[in-house]
Symmetry: C2
Subunit: 508 residues, 2 copies
């Protein structure tokens, strides 16, 4: 793990080995060129009648046409917003207000982007109702669930085109058809997918974000198809058909539209998508071969071409990201220790998969194959070193629970007590439990509770139980996930004086 | 009026003779340079832990410090928004919500920017109350009026630092002191003045817009001083301290802060302000000498250095702007015919001054003296030609009402009838009026009703009246203003079957 090749990383000429395109993609060269040109031509107020204003208006109109073509809507159905987040906020609020007579229920998938969840929260705070559509272990909504959930008072359905954390594509075309039949508008957050093609089907509203496709920051899209009831919320403003307040950012929208057109035009776009898809397949296949105790998540087939996510047992996500950064790889994570709220990603939670040691890789256009290969070379050593620091040794490809459970901790031993000691065990008294252990992980953060569970499980006989006391939010998700990966039986969770008690029964 | 020198106008190298800086200023060279540099360094998500993210965070922090210094607040009191409009919307809504227990009354000057008025409308629509502070004929709020209007339930006061249409500076320091004594926060919209210096005094909130000072579009500022109750409205978002939703536009904020610092640093800034102030004084003095029947509005002393507004009687604002554009000058107007709603500027209306033939000139930094001189050469001929097309002849410097009134119209004669014909006159029957005329200007737009009034006034004896029937919004403002300029007596307005009847008594 030497220093990264700074010559390639330090500049932004072409693409650098940066693997977090789903957060923000480096500026596309075409966007850069268009931005520079329109800084000189597009700075004036397009509402003005003089030539600088008219020139700005022409640029704005042309950008709108190009973006609408890429989206698959009419130019007068599309407005530019200052961000994808604001497109979602404005789209959700405007569609709900437009449908207020029909009802006040918002239905959205459990794996939507936080901007949709926050818009839903605001709706609930204002007296609306919100219902969530569950997803399967791949993160996919079942169209049948949507049909079942379409109550008469449903004002709006929101389902993303593809998930931002695990890449799973949603069945938006089917969902759109069901919504259309029910007369309910569908809002599709296409932030992650628009670079790869238009969203098919009879959606009513669509949102997107330019910096995800190599456009500059400061540009979102909101399309509202004709016939969709829409009542803009917030103080009125005459710009952008009254749907997005504030002076138009013409240089940025010109650059955003140019980048989108460039990405989509010609056969190169399909070739590039296929190439990245193959690179991601390589990661999906080889990471579990190279690194023990890894779960690759998300749909392996119905997915974005450039995005893959996996989680590593017994690994602290923040340290893993830090070490990967030192090795020259910029990736993202849905682990709780990398979030400001210390809660794991709601997407991984909804899928019921492991969140600890989570790594999301999203390859920008033009990612070099060599960079992916180098990542695959570096990753095993990085994970091993993080595990060693946490006192987990001996984990090798193919190693099972016993290996890990048998590893001697380097740090302080977990507080392990024979049942019925411990608050949770007391509550369990009276149940017919075989000999069991209680592990007190209170005050310890992910991945420690799972590591202690793995160590303790070897100390009880098959049929015996380990109860983990934990006040870490990630434990609620990761202990059942660990059981699934390890073929152990997850008995369930009970409230405890602090946090919760999670009981696992040894099966193997 | 030949074609403009396109070499100077067609490119944006240096400043072009563009006189609408108050709408949007051309990008400052320092902003351009900073933008280019930060496109390469500041595209990643500053919330991420990897190096591209950390680099973005450093740039964002530095831009915040620079902007805060220019504003005169602490960096943690300032957030970047996507526009000045959104800064105002967020600032007004957040301050009102934060003070909800104190009351729900918003007090603002009658000459605030439309973004403040729209935020006030939204507040009223949500059940709040709104009160307006009147201004004098220069557009200035009296601090004493603020003191008198500060009721116990006043939650927020909004007074701009300087007016965007007429340049008049408001007594914000005094107003801030009064507000502080009353325990009511003051929001100062500093969009027009921030380039020229910080807003003095104990204001609580401040908003601004970067494209007004040569920053790029896409950047507003919202400062909320510590101790000010503030509750952000709308869906929550973790960016910008929860006060402005959406992915940070780092290249643009870096460029905006760099331009502001460049404008403000060194003695050059003061010199430039003094130089532009002198150019504006020249326009203020010479336009009324060169063009007959002109009213220069706004405070001649307490004003922005670079902005001047005047109105020309018997002139159609849209045609005037078009002709000035053909002559190479890009200016703005508050005339009704240049607004999408066909209502005159609310600022001119609140001041009680003429709105027809209105021209706002706002000089960007670096405006060449020669361009101003050329404007002064061109303007008289342009105004004359517009008047001639409207059938107004013989208007020369120093010419009075009689000259204009005596001019023979080139177009169709106004419908003039001896009283008591006409709907309005019928309603006036029974009043002891001397011989009078009724002019039917229904369906005719500004400046026609005033032109017809000017023609008719010569046809009644001193003491006689002319009643103008008009359904043009501008007449309500411009007929009294004409009376003021012409020393005629404005009797008043009565409702009519269509529009209103405006009665004028001949005094001279």
């Amino acid at each position: 793990m030497g220093p990264p090749p700074t010559a390639a990383r330090g500049t932004n000429v072409g693409y650098v080995p940066y693997f977090d395109a789903a957060s923000a993609a480096p500026l596309h060269p075409v966007a850069r060129e268009a931005l520079l040109a329109s800084l000189d031509e597009g700075w004036a107020d397009p509402a003005r009648l003089y030539r600088e204003g008219r020139r700005g208006r022409l640029l704005l109109d042309a950008a709108r046409e190009a973006a609408a073509e890429a989206v698959g809507c009419r130019p007068d159905e599309l407005v530019f917003t200052p961000s994808g987040t604001q497109a979602v906020h404005a789209g959700v609020a405007g569609a709900l207000a437009g449908r207020r007579r029909a009802g006040r229920r918002l239905l959205h998938s459990a794996v939507e982007h936080s901007s949709v969840l926050h818009a839903a929260e605001a709706h609930a705070a204002a007296g609306g109702t919100v219902a969530e559509l569950a997803v399967d272990r791949t993160g996919r909504v079942a169209a049948g669930d949507v049909a079942a959930a379409l109550t008469p008072d449903t004002a709006l359905v929101a389902v993303q085109s593809a998930n931002h954390e695990v890449g799973t594509e949603q069945p938006v075309e089917e969902v759109a058809e069901l919504c259309q039949e029910a007369g309910v508008p569908l809002l599709v957050d296409a932030a992650q997918s628009l670079a790869w093609g238009p969203v098919p089907g009879a959606w009513s509203l669509l949102t997107a974000s330019a910096h995800k496709w190599g456009g500059p920051p400061g540009v979102g899209l909101l399309a509202v198809r004709k016939g969709t009831r829409f009542a803009p919320q917030g103080p009125r403003d005459e710009r952008e058909a009254g749907r997005s307040a504030g002076f138009e950012n013409i240089p940025a929208v010109v650059a955003a539209a140019a980048a989108l057109r460039a990405l989509r035009s010609g056969p190169a776009a399909d070739t590039e998508a296929a190439r990245l898809r193959e690179l991601v397949d390589r990661i999906r296949t080889r990471v579990p071969e190279l690194v023990p105790d890894v779960e690759v998540v998300g749909d392996p087939v119905h997915r974005l071409p450039h995005l893959v996510t996996f989680s590593c047992l017994y690994v602290d996500g923040e340290t893993l990201l830090h070490e990967l950064d030192r090795a020259g790889f910029s990736v993202s994570s849905g682990s709780s220790c990398t979030s400001s709220t210390l809660t794991p990603s709601h997407v991984l939670r909804a899928m019921g998969v492991l969140s600890e040691g989570n790594v999301r890789i999203s390859l920008p256009y033009g990612t070099a194959e060599a960079d992916v290969e180098r990542f695959l070379e570096v990753l095993p050593g990085v994970v091993r070193s993080v595990r060693e620091r946490l006192g987990v040794r001996g984990a090798e490809p193919g190693a099972g629970a016993a290996d890990t459970a048998g590893a001697a901790p380097q740090g302080p031993s977990p507080a392990v007590a024979a049942e019925p000691a411990g608050a949770a065990a007391e509550k369990a008294a009276g149940e017919a439990v075989p000999a069991g252990l209680v592990v007190d992980s209170l005050g310890r953060r992910c991945p420690i509770p799972v590591i202690e569970l793995a160590k303790a499980i070897g100390q009880v006989p098959v049929g015996g139980t380990v109860t983990v006391l934990s006040d870490d939010e990630a434990a609620r998700q990761d202990i059942p996930a660990w059981c699934g990966m390890r073929d152990q039986e997850y008995v369930g969770e009970r409230a405890a004086e602090r946090g919760a008690a999670y009981m696992v029964r040894r099966r193997v």
